[in-house]
């Protein structure tokens, strides 16, 4: 039986990045991926680097926003992490931080933007509300309906096609072993560590296990008889044909679901949380099937894009669906699982933007017990009451 210091379950951004940090620190690491690397959320997302609070965090009133804001220290960390990532991985990953605008089209929305920006500034985020001529000078491409925008200069984009694979390559260079087409099907605690059973019958041993399984997190945790309230959410995305540069910023909307940016390749990516629909099998959500696209979401998302009129004439090449995870309190699940020594989880929320940060903090916790930023607030321990054994 092969033995490792750490087994990472999941070959998305979080799994590959955690493997990179652990392997570089000298741990022996095996990563298991049931499909292909970067095949799920990490390769399907919008690639936004948004450090402002998102629409879903501010849509439900001040209290909910204040709660979600407790993740802002992670946002600030991520801002720096992305700026240094290409150097860290020794290859380009499409990072461009030219600023982001969160738009308001009604006086009410403008109010909400102001309150939001004030909250964010308390945590140290560089964000200001721009209106009138100042806004037009910054973003002449916006439609007349836009009254104002919260501007965060460090926001931007990265390329989801490249980031996760770059982490995987770095992890491999540092000695990590990667198995694709290999599904974890059993996880039991044994003396001094964990036994992992794979779908081909092989059994591995590891001192510690990282669950970085995206929407399958609860399923993998259940193998160790743990309930985690990680909620799968199905989303859709739209991409246009490449166009000459027309949109330097990341665009979001405070009153509607919208995220929009022009990729380095010239395509405009449009998303922002428009739902797709999970398939079911025998009455249960089938996480292994791509969620079905809803016509209404595609239409709604395209309509929201009207704030940048120039994009409306671009041909749409493709709409797709993907699935990611949210938690009941909108904070990540990050850290060791109580009563399961050596079993760690990382998921929840905008784990593309925050992925490099989650992964580094988790690896630091595992290696030294002392992460460079406190992560107690995000510990799975807050859901300990769901588990009796």
């Amino acid at each position: 039986m092969d033995r490792y210091d750490v087994a990472v379950v999941g070959g998305g951004l979080l799994g590959c990045a955690t493997a990179h940090h652990l392997a570089r620190a000298g741990s022996s690491v095996v990563l298991l991926e049931k499909d292909q690397l970067n095949r799920h959320a990490s390769g399907q997302n919008a690639g936004s680097l948004h450090f402002q609070l998102e629409y879903r965090m501010v849509a439900d009133g001040t209290d909910a926003a204040a709660r979600a804001a407790r993740a802002l220290p992670l946002h600030l960390d991520a801002q720096r992490a992305w700026a240094g990532l290409a150097a860290e991985l020794a290859e380009p990953v499409g990072v461009a931080q030219h600023g982001g605008l969160m738009l308001a089209e009604t006086p009410d929305e403008l109010d909400r933007l102001g309150r939001k920006a004030a909250l964010e500034r308390r945590y140290g985020l560089d964000v200001t509300v721009r209106t009138g001529a100042e806004l037009r000078a910054l973003a002449p491409y916006l439609s007349d309906t836009v009254l104002g925008a919260a501007y965060a200069p460090a926001e931007g984009k990265a390329n989801p096609r490249l980031v996760t694979l770059a982490y995987a390559r770095s992890a491999t260079r540092a000695g990590a072993t990667i198995h694709t087409g290999t599904r974890l099907v059993g996880l039991t605690h044994a003396a001094g560590g964990w036994r992992l059973t794979l779908d081909d019958g092989r059994v591995l041993a590891a001192t510690a296990v990282v669950i970085a399984a995206g929407v399958w997190t609860a399923e993998v945790a259940a193998m160790a008889d743990i309930r985690l309230p990680v909620i799968p959410v199905a989303l859709s995305m739209t991409v246009t044909a490449p166009a000459p540069p027309l949109l330097p910023h990341l665009i979001q909307h405070v009153g509607r679901r919208l995220s929009m940016k022009q990729s380095g390749d010239g395509n405009v990516l449009i998303g922002g949380g428009w739902p797709a629909k999970f398939r079911t099998r025998a009455g249960h959500i089938d996480l292994d099937a791509a969620p079905d696209l809803r016509y209404e979401s595609l239409a709604g998302n395209a309509d929201a894009a009207r704030v940048v009129p120039a994009v409306l004439r671009l041909p749409v090449l493709r709409c797709w669906s993907g699935a990611t995870t949210l938690t009941p309190d909108q904070l990540p699940v990050l850290g060791e699982i109580p009563r399961r020594p050596g079993l760690f989880a990382a998921t929840g929320g905008s784990a593309f933007t925050l992925g490099p940060t989650y992964a580094r903090l988790l690896a630091e916790t595992m290696l030294s017990g002392a992460p460079s930023l406190p992560i107690g607030e995000y510990s799975p321990a807050r859901f300990g009451f769901l588990n009796f054994v």
């Binding site: 070959g11 991926e33 499909d35 292909q36 690397l37 970067n38 095949r39 390769g43 096609r161 490249l162 694979l165 995987a168 390559r169 990667i178 694709t180 087409g181 739209t238 246009t240 044909a241 490449p242 390749d265 395509n267 449009i270 629909k277 398939r279 079911t280 099998r281 025998a282 089938d286 292994d288 099937a289 791509a290 079905d292 696209l293 809803r294 016509y295 209404e296 595609l298 239409a299 709604g300 998302n301 395209a302 309509d303 894009a305 009207r306 994009v311 409306l312 004439r313 671009l314 041909p315 749409v316 090449l317 493709r318 709409c319 797709w320």
Partner: protein, 541 residues
């Protein structure tokens, strides 16, 4: 019933359906019915030339019958997506469409309360009203993420399908009771050095110029490939007054002769080969050199940067090039015909199960003996079930029409069975011919692949070369599927939505990773299956 495609399959089905009282909507992105083979010039063209397609009697009959039938016809309209009812509250509405209705409706307008609808039958159920259901329906296995075989998932379970279209009237959503997809096929793109030069076209593309626009797109033509269409198009060009410098077929003469000798086995249904043979005779009469066992290895630029000459080589019996036989032929157009790829995008996007069928042109849509796909309410006919020619497409269309009529309650099962009997006999005969053709006209895949160098462009939209794909596979040794390679290299992400690079990319990935090409899968099909402007996406009527 909504029918996508007005080629032989769609027209035959629509006619049968309308004749028995179904309300039928036919959608085609072309402006006139006929599909690829019976393609008609625009109505505004009055020139009296040889209208190549409609000169075919079977085509004339189909078009005439369809013109008589009370069809609703949306020309110039692309069907870009199939969606389930799936719109939130809509899910809980009773399945609301009247039998046979194909009424456009605004999105979200649930048209509740329209009486008379039953949910579409689920394959595998013993469906009353559809003869030979139950056991006859294959339990098909779909391709999972990246083409791995997966268990048949529960069907999409739309109680009602919605077809999204875009045309002169803007974006429209159609709520048909049943849907028939007959999107046909397109020319198999074959990358080789120089294939992206202006002047290098597909034989099908050249035929479209000649048929639909009455244009001869060049001066001096070389036609090459591995499909009898090359002979047909060469003869059509000749008839239209073009100079044909040479026709080169990779098929070797002995193989062709064997096929011709075996013709009687095809029981009088040799229309296809006969068409090729007639074309061959016409070319011979005009002293056009027609060379068998000859393949294109490169297209070379002329002084102005467009095609100047074509490099050809002779093939040995084992399909490899014979050293020292390379030569160049001057030409300003090279028309290539290596065969066809089924246009399965819309059916795959809808969620219909597929099967890899090399003889049928690659990935094809699974169906039962009434042409029902794995997805309830969806029928498929014609080339998307496997490339087998226009007559077979029309026969499948008739069968689909009969099956759908029983499901719509417009035809008794026994009557459908009786009407289907001669169609099934015809399909059996054609099956034999198709086998014969497939065995004869095979592209020399290995030799074609060997001609490609690292500099050869694979994906012309995104300008991804063979070398880029190879190095991506070296850099990321874990990548093994078409989708995964697409994501890192951008091959397949351009305007053609992957149609022009998918077959060659899959073959390359299979070769480099030592897998079967079916294991590499295909690019996932997603809406819109043809590009539409973003504004149209947000703006249904």
């Amino acid at each position: 019933m909504a029918v996508v495609g007005a080629g032989p399959a769609g027209l035959a089905a629509a006619t049968v359906l309308a004749d028995h009282g179904a309300r039928v909507l036919v959608v085609d992105e072309q402006h006139r019915p006929g599909g690829q083979i019976y393609r008609q010039p625009p109505a505004t063209f009055t020139a009296r030339g040889a209208p190549a397609g409609t000169a075919i009697p079977a085509g004339r009959r189909l078009l005439a019958a369809a013109a008589e039938a009370p069809l609703r016809w949306w020309p110039g309209t692309v069907a870009w997506g199939v969606f389930g009812a799936g719109a939130g509250l809509d899910d809980f509405a009773a399945a609301p469409t009247a039998p046979g209705a194909a009424a456009p409706a605004a999105p979200g307008a649930a048209t509740p309360g329209v009486p008379g609808a039953a949910p579409p039958a689920v394959p595998g159920d013993a469906t009353p009203g559809v003869p030979d259901a139950g056991g006859a329906v294959p339990r098909v296995h779909g391709a999972g993420p990246d083409g791995r075989a997966v268990d048949p998932a529960e069907p999409l379970a739309p109680r009602r399908l919605r077809l999204a279209t875009h045309g002169p009237a803007g974006t429209r959503l159609v709520h048909p009771r049943l849907l028939l997809l007959t999107a046909g096929a397109y020319d198999l793109p074959v990358p080789f050095p120089g294939w992206t030069l202006p002047g290098v076209l597909t034989a099908g593309g050249v035929q479209v110029f000649v048929k639909a626009q009455r244009l001869v797109p060049g001066r001096r033509f070389v036609l090459a490939g591995a499909h009898p269409l090359v002979l047909v198009v060469a003869a059509q060009l000749l008839a239209a007054g073009a100079e044909v410098a040479e026709v080169a077929l990779a098929v070797r003469r002995p193989a062709l002769a064997a096929a011709l000798r075996a013709l009687p086995a095809a029981a009088g249904n040799a229309g296809k080969l006969a068409e090729g043979a007639r074309a061959l005779a016409a070319l011979r009469r005009a002293r056009v050199p027609v060379r068998f066992g000859t393949m294109v290895t490169a297209a070379l630029p002329g002084a102005d940067g467009t095609l100047g000459a074509v490099r050809l080589v002779e093939l040995a019996a084992d399909g490899t090039p014979v050293p020292g036989t390379g030569r160049e032929v001057e030409a300003d157009v090279l028309a290539l015909g290596y065969g066809f790829v089924p246009s399965t995008e819309l059916a795959r996007q809808a969620g219909c199960a597929t099967r890899y069928d090399p003889a049928g042109g690659g990935w094809v849509i699974e169906h039962d003996r009434w042409q029902r796909a794995s997805l309830p309410g969806v029928y498929v006919a014609g080339e998307i079930t496997g490339v087998a020619g226009a007559e077979q497409a029309a026969a499948e269309g008739r069968l689909a029409g009969l099956g759908a009529l029983t499901e719509l309650g417009l035809l008794a099962p026994a009557a459908a069975d009786r009407l289907a009997r001669p169609v099934r006999r015809e399909l059996r005969r054609r099956g034999r011919l198709a086998g014969l053709l497939a065995g004869t006209f095979v592209a020399p895949d290995a030799t074609l692949a060997a001609v490609r160098t690292d500099d050869t462009v694979l994906c012309r939209c995104e300008e991804v070369t063979v070398g880029t794909v190879r190095s991506a596979l070296r850099d990321h040794p874990h990548l093994r599927t078409a989708n995964a390679v697409k994501l890192v290299t951008r091959a397949g992400m351009g305007m053609c939505q992957g149609r022009s690079c998918q077959p060659a990319l899959c073959a390359l990935v299979a070769a480099e990773t030592g897998q079967d090409v079916a294991a590499v899968g295909s690019y996932t099909a997603r809406p819109p299956v043809k590009p539409i402007p973003l504004a149209a996406l947000s703006d249904p009527d």
